[in-house]
Symmetry: C2
Subunit: 340 residues, 2 copies
Amino acid sequence: MGDEFNKRRGQQTIELKEPPRIISTFSIVGPKEGEGPLKHYFDEVLKDDTCGEESYEKAESEMMYKAIGESIKKAGLTEKDINYLFSGDLLNQIISSTFAARKFKIPFFGLYGACSTMSESLSLGALLVDGGFADYVVAATSSHFSSAERQFRFPLNYGAQRSKTAQWTVTGAGAMVLGRKGEFPKVRYITTGVVKDYGITDPSNMGAAMAPAAAHTIYKHFKDTGREPKDYDLIATGDLGRVGKKIANELLLEYGYDIKDNHIDCGDMIFNDVVQNTESGGSGCGCSAVVASGYLYKKLMTKEVKKVLLVSTGALMSTTSSLQGESIPGIAHAVSMEFD
Amino acid sequence: MGDEFNKRRGQQTIELKEPPRIISTFSIVGPKEGEGPLKHYFDEVLKDDTCGEESYEKAESEMMYKAIGESIKKAGLTEKDINYLFSGDLLNQIISSTFAARKFKIPFFGLYGACSTMSESLSLGALLVDGGFADYVVAATSSHFSSAERQFRFPLNYGAQRSKTAQWTVTGAGAMVLGRKGEFPKVRYITTGVVKDYGITDPSNMGAAMAPAAAHTIYKHFKDTGREPKDYDLIATGDLGRVGKKIANELLLEYGYDIKDNHIDCGDMIFNDVVQNTESGGSGCGCSAVVASGYLYKKLMTKEVKKVLLVSTGALMSTTSSLQGESIPGIAHAVSMEFD
């Protein structure tokens, strides 16, 4: 196995031998996201962002539960068919995920990758399917504007002013079902990120904190695979927003790669920042989750695009680490989704 | 691959084809743990539980960093040899893990499994090695009494009374390096838990909340593998403590398995509860991590025991979920460590 293994991996990248298929996805978003430019790509738009629950945390967990359950249904499966569930979210002790997982009898691996969780869960799920350990896996994540604001920033009622570099946490959950067979987009390459920290300390400027990680992972992906930016129709970073997207582009130029022509950012796309007052764009685990499960997957299914590199990005801080004067480390995981 | 796959798995259990080896471990504990019954099994006992840092959170991260680094050194490797690092901890947004990972250039998967993290990280690491995706992986976790008390319960200075069913969060970090070769204990079976919730709402009685998950995972392990309690020298649950251990035993009797004779609990063993005032025993991610990396691994290496089933157990709640009246879901992951 040693030789075969070495041929299939670079320093941070695995090429999957029997690329797993993304056989279904489900995306659910809040009312604000449902008014944004991508509104027609989501499977469900909530009329009420409390989801009928008595707290925003419970609402977020309910969205996650729905995304997981509906993605399984859309795949024509039942929960008994699913070998593993991978999920995580932004809330302390990932309660959105664990309380959603409680309603299923699926073996559960809890993750924490901040807003990189969609590509983290997709990476691990794909590795387990390719490794022969699972027939079907669900990868999922969520975020909620109001639960995130309360936990990370200010209670909404406080009416704090928002910085121009601030991002708007997406209310939404996305889930993907991976399987072995069928005519569906495949996961071919997985590039797992290392933690990068360029010393940013402003929690209202997450895009800048995550950009170095995004640039580094994309750079390693190209080096490890021998691919170039033009080999992808779209390189979709997670939630750098407008500020972070520009920084990531510039850092990649320093690494010798120009991705400007096909670089999109899920955070930059999900809102109309001017009309919707979302400053630098969307953020949160749910951001790249719903854009990937909604927009990107549907573009792949219709073959409008054939190769997408999804690079979800996470800021690995907590309110405690910020209060203790720590800078904000970032991470980014890349997954190539391909339909030829 | 389909048939081969199906032969090697039960409903929740995988039998690894080329069982990865645990080629080294490192355990580091605080002064109190260093006075307990297992003191001679730990690699390092801190004289000062601040680890020379200015906050308990930074101290915990420093312990994690040390455990990871030293386990790599003990394996005769450098960080360049490690393909993946899996780790998680109890702190909000797993800052102990992410700030430790920041000091390494190792592709990093962040986990959250509460106190089940040692067997969760070991499971995923072993699957990636067995699947041919990695030559070497590090699995690690940590906890710290003072950072956990501050975050989950009361500031220490408050001097709150402790309940008789309360457990004492272990100050410690454990890391294991997995590889493919050499005369070392192997990871043979991985049984991944589902979330179980029996409606316990008392955060001072975590053992009772986690016991149903432990019992269920152990039951599934026996069903899936055809093994029986007597096939193991030790069945080591994570941190049920005295109260939870008894409940788990009784629940397993209802499932038809009597594990009393070879059941130990890491939380029950790490302190002398009477002398050390630790009520129902130890808890925290670090509990099963240091007992497994210290005591259990050393007993396996000397072949005093040959087959151990490690069942780390996690309580999947947060302070917010408790304040919102939620019960406490539990999870348990089982990993068999065998040296024949």
